[in-house]
Symmetry: D4
Subunit: 168 residues, 8 copies
Amino acid sequence: MNDKVLVSVVMPNEKDLEVMNESLVTLRSLGISCEVTVISAHRAPHQMIEYIKNAKERGIEVIIATAKGAAHLPGMIAAFTTLPVIAVPLKSPLLDGLDSILSMLQMPDGVPVATVSVNGARNAAILAAQILGLHHDNISVELERLKMRLSSEVEEQAANIKSKSFTQ
Amino acid sequence: MNDKVLVSVVMPNEKDLEVMNESLVTLRSLGISCEVTVISAHRAPHQMIEYIKNAKERGIEVIIATAKGAAHLPGMIAAFTTLPVIAVPLKSPLLDGLDSILSMLQMPDGVPVATVSVNGARNAAILAAQILGLHHDNISVELERLKMRLSSEVEEQAANIKSKSFTQ
Amino acid sequence: MNDKVLVSVVMPNEKDLEVMNESLVTLRSLGISCEVTVISAHRAPHQMIEYIKNAKERGIEVIIATAKGAAHLPGMIAAFTTLPVIAVPLKSPLLDGLDSILSMLQMPDGVPVATVSVNGARNAAILAAQILGLHHDNISVELERLKMRLSSEVEEQAANIKSKSFTQ
Amino acid sequence: MNDKVLVSVVMPNEKDLEVMNESLVTLRSLGISCEVTVISAHRAPHQMIEYIKNAKERGIEVIIATAKGAAHLPGMIAAFTTLPVIAVPLKSPLLDGLDSILSMLQMPDGVPVATVSVNGARNAAILAAQILGLHHDNISVELERLKMRLSSEVEEQAANIKSKSFTQ
Amino acid sequence: MNDKVLVSVVMPNEKDLEVMNESLVTLRSLGISCEVTVISAHRAPHQMIEYIKNAKERGIEVIIATAKGAAHLPGMIAAFTTLPVIAVPLKSPLLDGLDSILSMLQMPDGVPVATVSVNGARNAAILAAQILGLHHDNISVELERLKMRLSSEVEEQAANIKSKSFTQ
Amino acid sequence: MNDKVLVSVVMPNEKDLEVMNESLVTLRSLGISCEVTVISAHRAPHQMIEYIKNAKERGIEVIIATAKGAAHLPGMIAAFTTLPVIAVPLKSPLLDGLDSILSMLQMPDGVPVATVSVNGARNAAILAAQILGLHHDNISVELERLKMRLSSEVEEQAANIKSKSFTQ
Amino acid sequence: MNDKVLVSVVMPNEKDLEVMNESLVTLRSLGISCEVTVISAHRAPHQMIEYIKNAKERGIEVIIATAKGAAHLPGMIAAFTTLPVIAVPLKSPLLDGLDSILSMLQMPDGVPVATVSVNGARNAAILAAQILGLHHDNISVELERLKMRLSSEVEEQAANIKSKSFTQ
Amino acid sequence: MNDKVLVSVVMPNEKDLEVMNESLVTLRSLGISCEVTVISAHRAPHQMIEYIKNAKERGIEVIIATAKGAAHLPGMIAAFTTLPVIAVPLKSPLLDGLDSILSMLQMPDGVPVATVSVNGARNAAILAAQILGLHHDNISVELERLKMRLSSEVEEQAANIKSKSFTQ
């Protein structure tokens, strides 16, 4: 485990932790220290700006931001930093989160965010690890291990399903 | 015409004036002075914040903001002011602007914007006039005249179409 | 609290009060008196017309109207008045209310309504307050307080989430 | 040709005649007299109400109404009459007219309209003829002839395409 | 009550009666006799064709047909008759029935169906009554009564909601 | 029952068997032997490639593949074989599986898959049987029987619904 | 080239040949004889039924059917045959053919069609070849050649693009 | 300019360079060397696998991949590497590229890609730069300069628009 906090996971509402906790768990499983907080582009914009600047100074390298609906948070973070920002669109009450998706995906030229799947908290963490793995060798090693675990899980399931369907 | 500038019309790109010019024309036709500028939540966020604060101090009462795609501008303006913000979703290359619509419409609790139709620059101006008409009597008078003009236009078209279809 | 009733909250079905009650609660919390009733553009159009005219004469300044599906109520109210009309699209059984959204949003040139988010009863009330706050100073003060409360809530949640994730 | 005018074709804008002219042509080809006019639920609602009442008194039996976007016209006509109303959603700049479709289709319980396809001016006329054909025998005869013509056209095309593809 | 059966209500699956029963109830409340059966364009096409021809011979004047998904039934009925066909798109597991809507709405030139709202069984019955009311005077009278009942219900709800919100 | 295994049913997750079991049941009811396994284009791509090649060598004639979301499995199988691949889009948390549908349906020129309905496990099996029936006569016979059963079921339901609605 | 006609390509309008000609060209390039005609489920249903029965008797093994909008043709063909039916949704004026897609894709249990991409005339032909290749060895050989050609084309393009971008 | 090639830009069709050229231009403007090639997951999968492995060995750090429709390329690259993969959904003939978006965005747990906007070739390059900037200081400096240029452009446009609207 790196002692230095490399990833910041932010959300506009503490309830979003239900989904985003998977980012924290996955980051830790890959040996990456992270911090988590609540910031809001709409309800507390000055604090948001303050937070982003400090984060970079404190050594944060990747920011994972989530939101739903108008979902401005990841895009506004990207407006105030040159760090890579990973955006997790949350499932919302409108069209399963299509509003969240489009508000994140369609960022204007010059200010990208890296959007992952709806509620994709785990994939956001793995993407952060892939970015960090380019210059943190221990993280790169963890990613290779993860890839092997994924492959093994598929093989186990293949074994399971054959026995299941024999007995059906 | 009020001499005092009451409405600010803002857009993230000078090309958006092609659509938004209709707001300027309509506001003037209703006797309302306005100012127009380019501000961007993503590419020049500090100037945006500065502009919003000054606007209110200079007596602006309603802000009409447009954007397309991720379309954060109206929502971010609303984050920094308690003035009413009217949002005009621009037609975009994705689903005719459904991205612009949803990014504006689905603002979180506490920070509303008033969304009008896609490319609805004229309706944004009329909505601004309806808001101002509550305490500016001359604007209220203009709105009543507009309503009569709309009704007359329908009657003229009804007359036209009958003569057209007789001769077809 | 203003004694004068400034806002009218209307809906086509008494069941809609489940959602729209949040408008009433929010308006009162901002010191704004309101009235509430059931009117229908489709099932009782003559009463609707009567109501709209009387509302203006009785001093109503802003109308909040909701509907779902074909959702004509806000638009038809706007056809009969020059007061600002705020439209709340209700979540419907089709595409989470996309029908309600589009029927409100896409009003034709000349007759705008101010659309907020799906089931956005609270934001409709705050938007009404922003409109009224331009010439009712006490409401303007309440809005500034609301903005501070929103910001404080975010800070509280930020504190909460840090303690939560330490102990996870 | 019936001399009595049985069908009214109405639209909110004289430009809509470009699409709706196909209704007039088809009705006449089926021996049905019709009238055409411009009425608007939003811009001239009082004239609309007047027109609907007179139409029924003058012997109109079916109303074909078109609109685009918020597209309230057919639904508002249905609010003021018990005659069958056929609704033609016009192709609009948003999602090819999905706004027009949903605003017509999703009428509330108690006040139906009969929606046909986007820009379906010809089918609206044929549906009107099917309704009238139940008690106007000459129209019923024309409909049987139309059905045979449709079938013959398919056979002609089948002959054409075979010769075409032989020579390709 | 007319003794003669004037309306046929058909569906591809007996389970659809859960939704379509509202058509039967409404037709009876308007004094219209109807028959109900299961027919399928895909699974029993020959019986479907037989049924449609017999229906017309037996004096059926309007056919209400429902379906979901590919939802070909109303369109295929219209292919085999010149009677007006009312199509009720059923809510389906895909996009709340958008598949059912589009498969019915977008019928090709020459073969219309009259589409009502998703699960709009009651409105289908009222539309049938409006069609029949043109030449069955007793049905026309029932429709006027229905319109008054709808209007009274709105007034009752308006009374209810005022007392409710006083006591909240 | 053919002893030779002719159809392979594959899925990226053993949980998908809940839906896909219907394929197994239907294939067996049509006298077709099949095998089932878990393979993944994303998590175990090398095993997937191995499996596809072996499948063809072992005499598999049709592959039924399912997936959800990005849903690459059927398309990637088609990249590695010239056997017909039937794709079953699974209902997903986003827009009821519209993501699964489009990822399968919109395969590029040169590499088709045969897409059936969302969760259409039964229809995938019947389509496989239709393909196999062209050169396996016993399967062709079973398909004719199935078609008769479908038709009988409709007739039974027609009988049921009449008795039901008499007694309502 | 097989002399026997194995594939039937059908469309409801001779204009559809513009898109579907690609099916004919591709089938011929794979050594498969086909016939082409115009049939319509809605405008000439009796001829359609006649055609389908004769097709099977004449030795047709696969039917490629196209349509747009309500797009019933492939599904209705499947209702009358146990041959595999490949459905090509045509791009339509509504949502780029989403209506065509859903009307084909969402066929009810028991009556599948094999849907390919919008305007996917070429892929429909290749899918037909994959089905026929199972028992026509010459077609199977052609498919292997096609797969190699596809791969070579990619390699050529890779060579091209490098030279292009060196000189930019 | 780094001499070492750090970014690979890949596409399934040489025509896609029209859109993706903007990635090359932007990367070079930020001092980043890149290579470009054509690879295809569907038509040349073995070459694709070969390319990905070699790319990593040759020192590539970030892969930008584009595709349209089923759009499997970025996801399949991610299946074979732990490098960060940036996915650019291309505008397609279906719903402006919604198919491309969903096929990229909705990658399954364990195998993320970083999706940017439709045709977002420039933003893909900037995101690549943000990732590389974490450990390549010269790139980090270029990004700060870019952010200042973006802000200056907004100010210039603001100056332009004022002079334009004065003279209108």
